[in-house]
């Protein structure tokens, strides 16, 4: 792959994989693949993901484009072994089995997939039924992540979710029947007007479903969402951060009692069942994001595709057209990106790494960057250790229990001074 110029003027420089130095433990040539399915049956009130209601008719062309993008990147990823494949969204469970079969086959055909690879798929309770589930399982999907959010119907309504609490219980049973033994359930706490007790009920009932993995996110009211609009209008109150904090603290205790390991700010897993795909993000190992709005960290660069699905389909077509004519050319689907400088990479490593409950290995950091975290961030580390937000434990630097919920306060002080705008970046 030679010179590539994107519409935004940003050019990914695709270095040989070994030029980028990742990781403190895992080999540099493992890769994660992310495939984005941007369609949803209805848009949830709080959702600011790159997802769209009412664009289902684009799906066939979109799958087509995605298949092409899988192929486009194959030469660049030749020297990598793919450890995890993640179908995210949007709602990947809306994609029909034929398309899923084509996508999984293409991935297998063009990439070197590890035999024990983790294949995850995000799903909503409404659009899964028995046959579909066993079909997915047969295609090699071995981990399902189900958007539950709450087990109270009134709360599901507040969130404008399309399913009921009852349906969640059913779908988990159906997934088990279909042979899924690695389930994640996504939950949201800190809902507007939600007392501690109601969250406790949701979590207790969720535990009865015995998921292998749990993601519990605090609700955040994101600009541009329907929820934000309702709050701005005064129709709904702002979520109460103190109640959310109480809920979070209770959750930590309860899940640890229940035998779950807290391994990332918002993620818990039974021993040995952490989500390997998401760990790639937090450890800043390479990943390729395919599909509309998908993000990549590859060859030391961060870049992202255009958000709009129709624009993505067109861009992929343009890219292919150019290649047919000239044999090389631009990756037109890429909207922009950055080549982080050393200071940014160091800050990213800390900010992402500290999200993990185990924190950052100072030795690992030093191996990677040739300088100890204390030499770069000494002042901020001291300050936040003094405030009780950071802790040291031998080699590791991690957020304290209180620091987890105040992590932004720490992260802000780890940011590098604003770099000169990357002439080619955005």
């Amino acid at each position: 792959m030679v010179v590539q110029r994107t519409a935004a003027g940003w050019v990914p420089r695709l270095l040989p994989p070994h030029a980028a130095c990742y990781a403190d433990s895992v080999s540099a040539d493992s890769l994660s693949l992310y495939l984005h399915i941007p369609f949803c049956t209805s848009k949830c009130g709080y959702c600011d993901f790159n997802s769209y209601e009412g664009l289902g008719h684009l799906a066939p062309g979109y799958t087509e484009a995605l298949l092409h993008e899988v192929e486009l990147w194959a030469p660049a990823a030749r020297e990598f072994r793919v450890d995890t494949v993640f179908f995210g969204g949007g709602t990947p469970s809306l994609t029909n089995l034929d398309d899923m079969a084509a996508l999984t086959a293409a991935v297998r055909e063009h990439y070197d997939i590890a035999p024990n690879a983790e294949w995850s798929l995000e799903a909503n309770p409404t659009d899964l039924e028995g046959e579909h589930l066993s079909g997915l399982r047969a295609l090699g999907i071995n981990r399902l992540s189900i958007g539950v959010q709450s087990l109270h119907d009134d709360e599901l309504e507040l969130l404008e979710r399309a399913h009921s609490a009852e349906r969640v219980v059913e779908v988990v049973g159906e997934a088990r029947d279909a042979g899924f033994d690695n389930l994640n359930l996504d939950l949201i706490f800190g809902l507007i007007g939600q007392p501690l007790a109601r969250w406790q009920q949701t979590l207790e009932r969720t535990l009865e479903l015995r998921p292998e993995h749990l993601s519990c996110y605090a609700l955040s009211v994101e600009p541009g969402t329907a929820l934000h609009y309702r709050v701005a209008k005064g129709e709904l109150d702002e979520p109460d951060p103190d109640i959310a904090a109480d809920q979070y603290e209770w959750t930590r205790t309860r899940l640890s009692e229940a035998g779950y390991e807290h391994y990332e700010l918002s993620n818990w897993a039974r021993p040995g069942q952490r989500c390997r795909h998401n760990l790639t993000y937090w450890r800043a190992y390479p990943y390729l994001g395919l599909g509309a709005g998908a993000h990549s960290l590859f060859a030391g660069q961060r870049f992202a595709n255009v958000d709009a699905p129709n624009r993505y389909v067109e861009a992929i077509e343009e890219t292919r057209e150019e290649r047919r004519r000239t044999g090389s050319g631009t990756l037109r689907q890429i909207a922009g990106g950055e080549t982080p400088d050393e200071a940014t990479l160091q800050a990213d490593a800390m900010i992402l790494g500290l999200r993990l409950i185990d924190g950052v290995s100072t030795a690992g950091f030093e191996r990677r960057f040739g300088v100890a975290p204390d030499a770069v961030f000494g002042e901020a580390i001291e300050r936040h250790a003094g405030l009780g937000l950071l802790e040291r434990d031998g080699d590791r630097l991690r957020l304290s229990g209180r620091g987890l919920l105040l992590s932004n306060e720490v992260f802000i002080d780890l940011l590098p001074d604003p770099p000169e705008p990357d002439a080619a970046g955005r």
Partner: protein, 604 residues
Amino acid sequence: MELNRIRNFSIIAHIDHGKSTLADRMLEATDAIDVRAMQNQLLDQMELEREKGITIKAQAVRMGHTVDGQPYQLNLIDTPGHVDFSYEVSRALAACEGAILVVDAAQGIQAQTLANVYLAMELDLTLIPVVNKIDLPVAEPERVAQQLIDIIGFDPDQILFASAKSGDGVNEILDAIVEHIPPPAGDPRAPLRALVFDAKYDPYKGVLVYVRVVDGRIDGRRPLRLMQQQRRFEPLELGTFRPQLSPLGALETGEVGYVATGLKGVNESRVGETVTVDRAGAEEPLPGYRPAKPMVFAGVYPTDAEAYRRLREALERLSLNDAALQWQPESSTALGFGFRCGFLGLLHMEIIQERLEREFGLELITTAPSVEYEVTRTDGSEVLVDSPSELPPPNEISEIREPWVSLSVTVPARYLGAVMGLIEERRGEYRKHEYLDHAADDGDSRVLAEYAAPLSEILVDFYDQLKARTQGYASLDYHFEDHRPARVARLDVLVNGDPVDALSAIIPREDAAAKGRQLTSALRELIPRQLFDVPIQAAIGGRIVARETVRAQRKNVLAKCYGGDVTRKRKLLEQQKAGKKRMKMVGQVQVPQEAFMAVLRLRD
């Protein structure tokens, strides 16, 4: 030009009654303008003035007009249009023999108009009343004419009717100026005496003083002297306004023009001064000079300590053109280094603040405005205090006096009660009122009501309240009157145990405790939650009168992982970081700029 061919006049009008439009029409109707590419409303030159709809800096223009085949020189001297500048208005009027009184045919006479009419009368100016905007469908020219007759005492046949918009009646006004306004009455043979009615800084020519030659002439060859400031200078250039500067060899008795002094700051040439020749000059200056006297004081601080020098330079630059702006370095434990600035009034303060931010790109924190208190200490000594931090300890004070102003308000009669309510809330007192429409006695007829009130009470949000409670109908004029004994005390604010000087305020004793509670609760809303509990206390002389706590923040987290979008995460953090950077560190506490204006919110 011979004296009897010269007419010097101003236009007196309430804001928006049509002064600028009329001036434009006059310039068009005469030969004033060389280049026809004229901006609308030539006299209002500064952008800010246009936005605020007021004329801040007086300007002048010379026009030629012919009556009965005889050429006349008409000099229009513009006056600033706001109460803060009443001294400047009086000097501009003093440079004239007459004034056109423009009143909007729909709105009638307003408080400010009357205030300026009285000023003009004191100065013996001949007034030409003009009812403007007669083209408006809602115009009531007869009723407004009757007001002019009843209140000011014009004869019905003196009153002219015009539409500055269409130009109707403008020639009649020009003719009336020649016919009714007396020519200047100076002595061409006496030693030079010229009245400075405005000054402007020019980077090449130094300060330009705008003058009206009263006696003698300026020929540009002899050194001149500013009598009050005892400053000697060589005139670099002189001339008149057409309306741009247009050099001439001399300014004769009675004429209006400018002199380039080469002096470096307008502070050296205060409006109202007298210019004479340096040797064998006049013995007595012209009457009416008053040194600049700021009435309102506030601390002005750069948000970013590094901008201190730029702020100083900006103040220096603004002072070049604004002799009334005073400033001196000041430092605050909370805000660092800044300046204590003195302003003529609140509008003046607002204008300066806006110009500093807009023209010089500065980000500023301005502390709550204060008046100047006269304090007698127990040892009999006197101090002037314009900043809460300078107030001596209570046990050293035997008396404090605060400035009072007289207020005139014009308002439809039905709002009198509302105005009275507001005045009473502000410790003011009623004096008298008078109906402006003698014939009518319904709720619509206008009333001129007079009150007195402490200046400190009208500094903040008084005008807005007045407007709000009268649905925008009231107009206001005020003048400094005297200092009166005041029962006031300093309210201090402690944030996290540390006194924050920039949050102190001098307030009436009676409501000190209530104000303290309001202030602490306002601050609790304004100060974001920190990583620890932050007590906020209000104290008077060491006694805590109110307390609130900003509870420690417990949650500030990006919960979601955004599918590997690290750039976005970093951007969100960067936004938070930038937000924090805009705050001031007071001890360990981050305090946003708005908190320093919280004192202003005490009435909410």
